[in-house]
């Protein structure tokens, strides 16, 4: 059976470790990258069925930029942005209003900590 491949990009090694286990438990194959640069290298050689990208890596918004590039080069690959930056810090990202949909090139934005069930259903929705 053809397992779907998920690319996981985050500089937080605990997040990578945990989501790798969770995604495997959901039945997906997992590839990981610890930075936007690493992800770009990998993407030059392969394409995933879905990408999960952390918004802010290495103190810049490189995840945001990476998501933009993925959607530009491969518009068919769904991208989920994950972020630890939430309403409490005064910044909030979600795709509720169309204004944000315009400039946030991603198919979904999920706040950390990510709930297993929520992630599973988002991926199911986007990959089929």
């Amino acid at each position: 059976m053809n397992q779907k491949l998920v690319l996981l990009v985050d500089d937080d090694k605990d997040f990578i470790e945990q989501q790798s286990i969770n995604l495997t438990a959901m039945g997906y194959q997992v590839a990981t990258a610890y930075s936007a640069a690493e992800a770009q290298d990998w993407l030059a050689r392969q394409q995933p069925d879905l990408a999960i990208v952390d918004l802010m890596m290495e103190n810049t918004d490189s995840g945001f930029v990476l998501s933009y590039h993925i959607k530009k080069q491969h518009p068919e690959i769904p991208v989920i942005l994950v972020t630890a930056v939430t309403r409490e810090t005064g910044m909030s990202f979600d795709l509720i209003n169309s204004e944000e949909k315009q400039w946030i090139k991603a198919d979904a934005v999920l706040p950390k900590p990510i709930r297993f069930e929520q992630l599973a259903s988002e991926i199911r929705r986007l990959v089929n």
């Binding site: 500089d11 090694k13 605990d14 997040f15 470790e17 945990q18 610890y34 290495e58 005064g90 950390k112």
Partner: protein, 384 residues
């Protein structure tokens, strides 16, 4: 009188005189229009823009429009409404004005009444320009100090909010990480055997230690900032403290097989708190170990002069880019790149180092080259 003024410029306060004697108004305005108040202990320079009203009613018309001066010179005996009545009206409307009573009418009861209604000072008529200016100087000083106090309050609240925001953000990451691992264990996603989860249990411990260190460092930092820490400043020798610090990093340095070279005199006497010096040495040495390469080197130099001592630590570690060097001393700033990915830290060490150096009229500086290593130099006053 709300916004702060650049040093050196003259700040103009509005001053209104309410008095039915036109001659007095003219005279007072004359002696104040060109006058600039300066203080021996404050940087502010204050001038005045003077307006006169010959009746209390005319003054109240402006108040009704919502216009108020910074300072009010108020006569009592006027044909219409009196000075005291005006004070009563202002008080009833909860309008706080810096008011100096100028009046020939001077009974004790009147003075008590006026004071209770909020008058700041009295300049009994007839007064000389000097007497008037003296009272106005007192009033201006009071206004300036009140403004400074308010600014400090606002700033304090702002800093407190920022600090708390950053701390909650810094704690979220380890909390999320630990919760993520526990969730996996609870759902038994790696099977039923507990040994499968050994690595993540260890990882949870590491994150917990990180949180503990964050809290400890935060306490150190805020204690230093608030002056709450009780200092035990005494005559002591720096060298044994350095040696003790070296011993404490010994095990970690050995794990990485680091070579440590020392260049220090037999003794360096100074007036200092031993805990603070220990923190400086520990801070410099632990960074030199943490960010070093296997089989790398650490060079520790202690160089005293008559009045100061330099503590320098050079390492052959991963070094810092120019951009990273700029951000180095910001609180919670941690340099995140491929090489530093596995290095734990609270991000407060260098802030603490700088705060301690300040206590000793000292400096902290860094020279670094990415990929080559870093040299941190701390100079402290010996206090002699």
């Amino acid at each position: 009188m709300d916004s702060p003024v650049k040093e050196g410029t003259i700040e103009t306060l509005t001053l209104w005189i309410v008095d039915d004697e036109p001659g007095l108004c003219l005279g007072a305005a004359k002696s104040l229009n060109e006058y600039v108040v300066t203080f021996s202990d404050l940087p502010e320079r204050v001038g005045f823009s003077v307006t006169s009203f010959h009746t209390g009613e005319a003054f109240l018309e402006q108040v009704d429009l919502g216009v108020l001066p910074d300072i009010l010179l108020l006569d009592h005996r006027m044909p219409g409404i009196s000075g005291l009545e005006i004070l009563e009206i202002l008080s009833a409307r909860n309008i706080k004005l810096m008011t100096i009573m100028i009046t020939a009418y001077g009974t004790f009861e009147y003075a008590v009444q006026a004071t209770k209604l909020g008058a700041f000072d009295f300049v009994p008529k007839p007064f000389t320009p000097r007497e008037l200016r003296y009272s106005i100087e007192k009033a201006v000083r009071d206004l300036i100090l009140t403004r400074k106090a308010r600014q400090l309050e606002t700033e304090k609240k702002k800093v407190r909010f920022e600090m708390i925001s950053v701390v909650s953000h810094e704690l979220k990451s380890p909390i999320n990480a630990i919760e993520g691992y526990l969730d996996i264990m609870k759902a038994q996603r790696l099977g039923a055997g507990i040994s499968e989860y050994a690595a993540m249990v260890d990882r949870c411990m590491v994150r917990i230690n990180g949180m503990r260190k964050l809290i400890v460092d935060l306490m150190d930092l805020t204690r230093l900032e608030s002056g709450q820490k009780v200092r035990h400043v005494q005559e002591l020798d720096l060298v044994p403290i350095v040696k003790q610090s070296l011993e404490s990093i010994g095990p970690d340095a050995a794990v990485k097989q680091l070579a440590i070279t020392l260049d220090m005199p037999e003794a360096v006497m100074m007036t200092a708190d031993p805990t603070e010096l220990t923190m400086v040495c520990n801070n410099l040495l632990t960074n030199a170990v943490k960010y070093n390469i296997p089989e790398g080197s650490i060079f520790l130099t202690i160089q005293p002069t008559e009045t100061r001592v330099m503590i320098q630590v050079r390492d052959t570690g991963i070094g810092l880019s120019d951009d990273d060097q700029k951000r180095l001393f910001q609180e919670f700033s941690r340099i995140k790149n491929e090489q530093t990915r596995d290095i734990e830290g609270s991000g407060l060490g260098l802030s603490i180092l700088k705060k301690i150096a300040d206590l000793y009229h000292g400096q902290v500086s860094v020279k670094s080259e990415f990929g080559q290593g870093s040299t941190f130099t701390v100079t402290l006053s010996r206090g002699n």
